[in-house]
Symmetry: C2
DNA sequence: ATAGACCTTAGAGCATACTTTAAGGTCAAG
DNA sequence: CTTGACCTTAAAGTATGCTCTAAGGTCTAT
């Protein structure tokens, strides 16, 4: 299939597919005489692999590492895949914690502000940002 | 105080302070004869305001809007500050939900993988990414 | 007066992951 | 044989928020 077909079947734009190729993630199995890219069913699987990997939060570089395992399974072990996954679990956990901390602060800010048409002279949100009041972990 | 002093007192690097100035967030109250930036106590408050705002997850652009309120309170109302905060609360909530979804998937992947020195031939992580098995919201 | 710390500017570089542009070649239908 | 859809490349642009570099001016202490 040509790049437009893979675009439709994988849901990844042709532009992005070319970009992934440049980054070494997905090489078309061959080129036609006209130099057009030709993709196989295996390439489609790889494209979907990339998409799922990204949906799990893996970066392109991490996805590359996972693809390297997929593409040469007998020379790789489960430990590698599990390690990459474990690192990502920790990273995402940290990100979630950071966001929750922000969220808690924001919700405090939101709760105390009247939100009306009063002058911002005594706005608790502005005041908190200005003076560090009520900002968790503030100063 | 000079930029190096503000750097120490605010914890924002001189480079970044100049960047913020270029972006219109924090202008030094005056320039010396030697063209050095001179910051006032008020500028220090503004610098800390920016830092707290960023800690809450606000972008520089959003921080700009909040600063505009802070710098001219009588011409702004609480509703503006609360609206900005409310939008951010929703954004962060969505981000957390996305990350939690990823996390759930990743933990499934991690759980089922033996993680040993076995060949990746039958690795459940690679298999799931390849075939969409067990990937929540997959395909 | 000279070393070293500090300041100035404009502009480039970094990181990630695309997205778009420009300029052009190929192919199938009518 | 031309139109329009599709393909090609290299390179630049987008977004965010810095971070660094180069080349040079200023200030303070000895």
């Amino acid at each position: 299939m040509k790049i437009g077909d893979l675009e439709k079947l994988s849901g990844i734009s042709a532009h992005t597919l070319r970009y992934y190729e440049k980054e070494g993630l997905l090489k078309p199995s061959k080129r036609g005489e006209n130099n057009y890219r030709h993709y196989s069913q295996d390439d489609l699987i790889t494209a979907k692999f990339i998409k799922r990997s990204k949906a799990c939060g893996f970066s392109l570089s991490e996805t590359s590492s996972l693809l390297a395992i997929k593409n040469d399974k007998s020379h790789h072990v489960c430990a590698e895949a599990k390690q990459i996954t474990g690192v990502k679990v920790k990273e995402i956990e940290e990100q979630i914690q950071r966001l929750k901390q922000m969220q808690a602060t924001l919700i405090q800010l939101e709760r105390y502000c009247c939100g009306g048409e009063e002058s911002a002279e005594f706005c608790t949100i502005i005041d908190a940002l200005e003076n560090g009041n009520d900002i968790t972990g503030g100063e």
